[in-house]
């Protein structure tokens, strides 16, 4: 059997295990074991991918398998991976694993919570192994639906409002995507004259320029909504603020990455000409959103809002890097997806842990937490440094790669947009240090906080897993860069042939 199937089967088996579990303890341990196995599988997958490449296989996708699903429309269940999807699977594996430990103390309906959480993860894993557009879309929807329940039931604050807003906006994105999907299906003519949903086959086919121009915005915006593209990002602050910890982690850490992933894998890869023609509009949008998000974050008072705006800024940089359409900048964008995924999951985990102690997320109500919860404080500070791009942590590598790649454009317009985006490193430092200064440093504001307990063992597992990954990429970025770089070859080639 294709080992890729495992990444979907293990979560499903875990879900079944949870259904059968008798008590809370069993539910936790089944989830933790399942996701630990999943993480191991993801690591194993990375090593086997490297081994396959090393043995000289130069196929665009490896470990492929294909099953006909619905003949009339030529829909297949096709799976396969390249370096980018393997890296994303690894990221997802890490974040889900950390997420399970971050939700160790869910208060009610534990069983249902873990089932929804792992179903969501299944959708994400499935998305990353799909090659067929239809399969991809299906998995995407699998990931979005549990999100509604998770926020609506286990959330906090105006949870129904936030859940509804998030789901409706993402569904709006899906609606655009389905238009784009069928548009691509019907207007791309394969060499043998048939139609297909298979990405690799579609890339071989010809899509007329007017069709590209018409459908590109649908695909781009459809995925862009998910990737928090300004001005379609407003689901993110509300959604995150209401979502329970693990859901925020998974959502910002992984689900938002589906947006960026879809943009280069589907929109840009299949419609390269339109991508070139329309890039400037989106470059303006994204370079604005990089700064806009950062300035927005300065003024927020709620930890989750700060992080949500920070995500708008960082994810803006992802799409910005992709739009530069050269291999280095796109590589940087993918590194940024991974880096931001790890970093922001870490932030949300920490925010959840702090909230469970202080019962507030308002930074001005807290202060001096470093003294009372030093472990959480130090990790929060390191996460902050990663976010503001300190060398030795993943954020720096990703940002610098994007900037260096983007700067290779001789065109002045691209240069100025790049410089605008770079200026965000200053603004990011301002809001990160502001939060760190108010939240962790200074005198303790509330005497009750003196009795707070530092991180428990499961909280340590959750945060350290993410932290090690962040530092690992920061220290040794080259292997990941090269894995992604090689896999970008076909996409960059396709993009450059239309010039």
């Amino acid at each position: 059997m294709n080992i890729l199937n495992l990444v979907v089967i293990i979560p499903l088996l875990t879900v079944m295990g949870i259904v059968m579990a008798k008590n809370m303890k069993a539910v936790r341990w089944v989830s933790a074991t399942g996701m630990f196995l999943q993480l191991l599988t993801a690591v194993f997958l990375m090593f086997s991918y490297l081994a396959i490449r090393k043995s000289g296989v130069t196929d665009e996708m490896v470990m492929m398998s294909d099953h006909l699903w619905f003949k009339t429309l030529n829909i297949h269940y096709t799976i396969g991976v390249d370096g980018i999807s393997v890296a994303m699977i690894l990221l997802t594996g890490i974040v889900v694993f950390a997420g399970i430990f971050a939700s160790w103390e869910v208060e009610y309906l534990q069983k249902e919570f873990f089932i929804s959480l792992i179903l969501l993860a299944t959708g994400v894993f499935g998305f990353f192994i799909s090659i067929d557009l239809f399969t991809m879309f299906l998995y995407y929807e699998i990931a979005v639906i549990p999100m509604y329940l998770l926020i609506g039931i286990w959330g906090s604050g105006p949870k129904e409002y936030s859940a509804m807003k998030l789901t409706l906006m993402l569904m709006g994105g899906s609606a655009l995507l389905i238009v784009a999907m069928f548009g691509i299906y019907y207007t791309t003519v394969l060499p043998d004259g048939s139609h297909s949903f298979n990405l690799l086959q579609l890339a071989q086919g010809a899509m007329s320029s007017p069709a590209q121009r018409f459908f590109f915005p649908f695909a781009f915006l459809g995925f862009g909504v998910l990737g928090a593209l300004f001005p379609f990002h407003t689901w993110s602050p509300d959604g995150h603020a209401s979502a329970p910890t693990a859901v925020s982690m998974l959502h910002a850490g992984v689900l938002m990455k589906l947006g960026g992933y879809g943009i280069f894998r589907v929109a840009m890869y299949l419609m390269p000409q339109a991508a070139h023609e329309q890039a400037w509009i989106f470059i303006i949008l994204t370079s604005t959103s990089v700064i806009y998000g950062a300035f927005g974050a300065i003024w927020q008072k709620d930890l989750k809002y700060i992080n949500a705006y920070s995500s708008v800024s960082h994810c803006g940089l992802v799409i910005f890097g992709l739009l530069m359409m050269n291999q280095t900048a796109m590589d940087g964008a993918i590194l940024q997806m991974i880096s931001h995924g790890l970093m922001t999951a870490l932030f949300f985990a920490l925010i959840g842990m702090i909230y469970s102690r202080t019962h507030t997320r308002m930074i001005h109500e807290m202060g001096g937490l470093m003294k009372v919860v030093p472990f959480l404080g130090v990790v929060y500070m390191i996460a902050g440094f990663a976010s503001l791009g300190l060398p030795g942590l993943s954020g720096f590598v990703a940002e610098m790669t994007i900037f260096i790649g983007a700067f290779q454009h001789g065109d002045l317009f691209y240069r100025i947009a790049t410089i605008m985006a770079i200026s965000a490193i200053v603004v990011t430092a301002v809001y990160i240090l502001r939060v760190v200064g108010i939240l962790l440093l200074g005198p303790i504001k509330n005497e009750h906080y003196l009795h707070l307990k530092d991180a428990t063992w499961y909280e340590r597992i959750s945060t350290l897993t993410l932290l090690i990954a962040v530092a690992g990429i920061g220290f040794f970025p080259n292997w990941l860069y090269q894995v992604v770089y090689d896999s970008l070859d076909p996409i960059v080639l396709k993009l450059s042939t239309v010039l």
Binding site: K165, Y309, P391, F396, I404, I419, L441, P477, N478, Q482
Partner: protein
């Protein structure tokens, strides 16, 4: 190559110590962290000295030219082809000299801190941060390419942030650390863009390639201009902006005085001797490019240095916090170094400015670290930073007093101490190149002597103040570093710098210029004499003078209100006029539109939902009316 194979230990040992102390420090007694941190830095110092001896008096020189030796260079991130970021070790005269400076001062500060920080709750944390800083600074100094330098540049920035904010429960320390980080980050923004421009045109980050005067690819950039200025100049001015931020040149100097919130040993190490001269080191590293391809920028560097040195010296006269006086003095002295680079030529004896800058960097590290550590010893004894809480301390603290006096004499340029030699070379270089800058520096030499002796007399002479307990001399662990550094401050001037450092790496033959040395000594002595009259014994003249100058005095005392201008720009403009509207816009306009769409959908569906009433009669009526309407329309159009 293999002769320097041990050099990898120089940056690695402090890194390992940082990780070790940082991760396990809380498990031991605090003193253990201090001792192992200090011992490992001691080893680093020995290795640095070995490197220096082997380099300068051994294998470094071939055919009378100092070689650039790269014992290690690993690819850290390979972008494409040959375009990559490496991590390595580069040995040439200035990097080896910096190794000696950084490791010596860091070692002294480690020893001193065992006494100074004794009993502090964060003792282990302090030593792990010191190790982190030493690692970053050594990595910066040894960088083989400009991007490696940028990486370590950021790391020293964060170590500085952590150490300034060491007393993190104190709001002023938190604010100061934040300010330092953000101001330097702003400068690094320029630095990064400068690197990007430079690397885009040259296709490399490598110092070896960029600064080779014969083959530098920068030559290919000439002729390309942007807004009327050549791109080389743009790149180099932006890179200098990074250096100006870290070296606290006007107008990016505002973070340094506040950085004195950190523990005093930190001020000595980071904010006097090592990190703040990184900007000077950067300009020296890229000197070939500045001199040959961006001479205008080099000129600018000279003026920025000259202005900063005068500006800071004037402010130093009016300050009462002894650490702040020293901080402004540091600004002023770094201004000297920048100026020297700005007026330097290239080749043979024209390179005197370059040499003098590095020379002064070296001697300044010794005497300024000594001044700070001495100040720390004083603060330790009287528990105040303000000179009006001090007086007559010479009786209680003899070692501190003598070493402090040596350092004060050195910075004042008294003959045959190290500061005299290095300052003289700078004045010679300035005199040959630019008379205005020479005049400024000449004046600053006098002001320096004056404000330093004002400090000295106020602290060690005059009458006793009401101390909480009788001040006593610091323990040996603190005074031994003082004595060692005093030794350095006296004798560092006798090192044959001209034979070791020059822009073209060939030894120079220089001699003392008495025609410049004598007047500069005289103006220094005049400054000392004036301070003697005003401050040796308590008298009302200084206060009278202060009130006589009125507004001018207040302006200077408030550091020309530069901080207030920055506060206005950041808080009033950026926070209130950008950030706040952005947050509002996002919530009310962008999100408002989304909610508006949702509102329209729900309202309109509410309005028309009455149509779905479930009453057959109503449906039939609508059906018939509709059918009739269609028929009528059909007839109308088909006619």
């Amino acid at each position: 190559m293999n002769t320097f194979s041990y050099t990898f230990l120089i940056p690695i040992l402090p890194l390992l110590m940082f990780l070790f102390i940082g991760l396990t420090g809380h498990k031991f007694k605090p003193i253990v962290s201090g001792v192992i941190g200090t011992v490992s830095l001691g080893i680093v110092t020995l290795l640095s000295y070995a490197t220096a001896i082997q380099y300068f008096w051994g294998v470094g020189k071939i055919d009378e030219v100092f070689q650039t030796i790269i014992p290690y260079n690993y690819t850290w991130l390979q972008f494409w082809g040959n375009f990559k970021i490496s991590m390595g070790i580069l040995l040439d005269p200035i990097s080896v000299m910096m190794l000696v400076v950084v490791s010596t001062v860091s070692f002294m500060v480690h020893i001193y801190s065992i006494g100074y920080m004794k009993g502090d709750g964060g003792f282990s944390r302090f030593f792990s941060f010191l190790s982190l800083f030493s690692f970053s600074m050594l990595g910066l100094v040894l960088a083989t390419n400009i991007f490696q330098m940028y990486i370590f540049w950021e790391l020293v920035g964060v170590s500085s942030f952590l150490l300034i904010g060491y007393y993190y429960e104190k709001p002023s320390a938190v604010a100061a650390s934040k300010k330092a980080f953000i101001v330097t980050r702003f400068a690094d923004f320029g630095f990064l863009i400068g690197i990007l421009i430079l690397s885009f045109y040259t296709g490399t980050f490598d110092f070896g390639v960029l600064t080779n005067p014969e083959t530098t690819p920068v030559a290919s950039m000439t002729g390309i201009t942007f807004m009327g200025v050549s791109v080389v100049s743009w790149a180099m001015i932006l890179i200098f902006a990074g250096g100006a931020g870290k070296s606290a040149m006007f107008p990016l100097h505002i973070w340094l005085p506040d950085a004195m919130e950190g523990p005093t040993p930190v001020s000595a190490l980071i904010h006097a001797a090592t990190m703040v001269v990184a900007g000077v080191y950067l300009v020296a590293r890229m000197f070939v490019v500045y001199h040959f391809y961006a001479p205008g920028v080099q000129e600018l560097i000279g003026y920025v240095g000259g202005f900063t040195s005068l500006f800071a010296a004037i402010i130093a006269i009016t300050q009462f916090d002894i650490k702040r006086v020293l901080a402004f003095s540091t600004l002023s002295q770094i201004g000297y170094m920048m100026l020297a680079l700005g007026v330097s030529g290239y080749g043979a004896e024209h390179g005197v400015g370059y040499m003098a800058s590095m020379f002064h960097l070296f001697t300044h590290a010794m005497f300024k670290a000594l001044l700070f550590l001495g100040a720390g010893s004083v603060i330790h004894a009287v528990h105040s930073n303000y000179m009006y809480d001090m007086g007559g301390l010479r009786k209680y603290m003899p070692i501190t007093h003598i070493t402090f006096l040596i350092a004060t004499l050195t910075i004042a340029g008294v003959p045959f101490l190290s500061g005299f030699f290095s300052k003289d070379e700078i004045l010679v270089a300035a005199f040959e190149h630019n008379k205005l800058l020479f005049a400024i520096e000449f004046l600053v030499a006098g002001i320096t002597a004056f404000y330093m002796f004002r400090l000295y007399f106020n602290v060690f002479w005059g009458e006793d103040k009401h101390y909480h307990h009788t001040p006593h001399e610091s323990p040996l662990v603190m005074t031994i570093p003082l004595m060692i550094l005093a030794f350095g401050a006296i004798f560092a001037g006798y090192l044959p710098f001209a034979h070791m450092i020059s822009p073209d790496k060939t030894p120079m033959h220089l001699h003392l210029h008495w025609n410049i040395a004598i007047p500069s000594v005289l103006i220094g002595l005049a400054g000392i004499a004036l301070a003697w009259v005003l401050y040796k014994k308590k008298n009302p003249i200084p206060d009278k003078l202060a009130s006589a100058f009125g507004t001018f005095y207040t302006t200077v005392y408030h550091k020309f209100y530069i901080d207030e201008i920055y506060l206005f720009v950041t808080h009033k403009i950026l926070f209130n006029m950008v950030s706040r509207p952005v947050a509002w816009f996002d919530r009310h306009i962008v999100d408002g539109t989304m909610n508006g769409v949702a509102f329209i959908v729900t309202t309109s569906s509410n309005k028309i939902k009455g149509l779905q009433s479930g009453q057959l009669q109503q449906y039939a009526a609508v059906f018939i009316a509709g059918a009739l309407g269609l028929v009528l329309l059909g007839i109308y159009f088909l006619q």
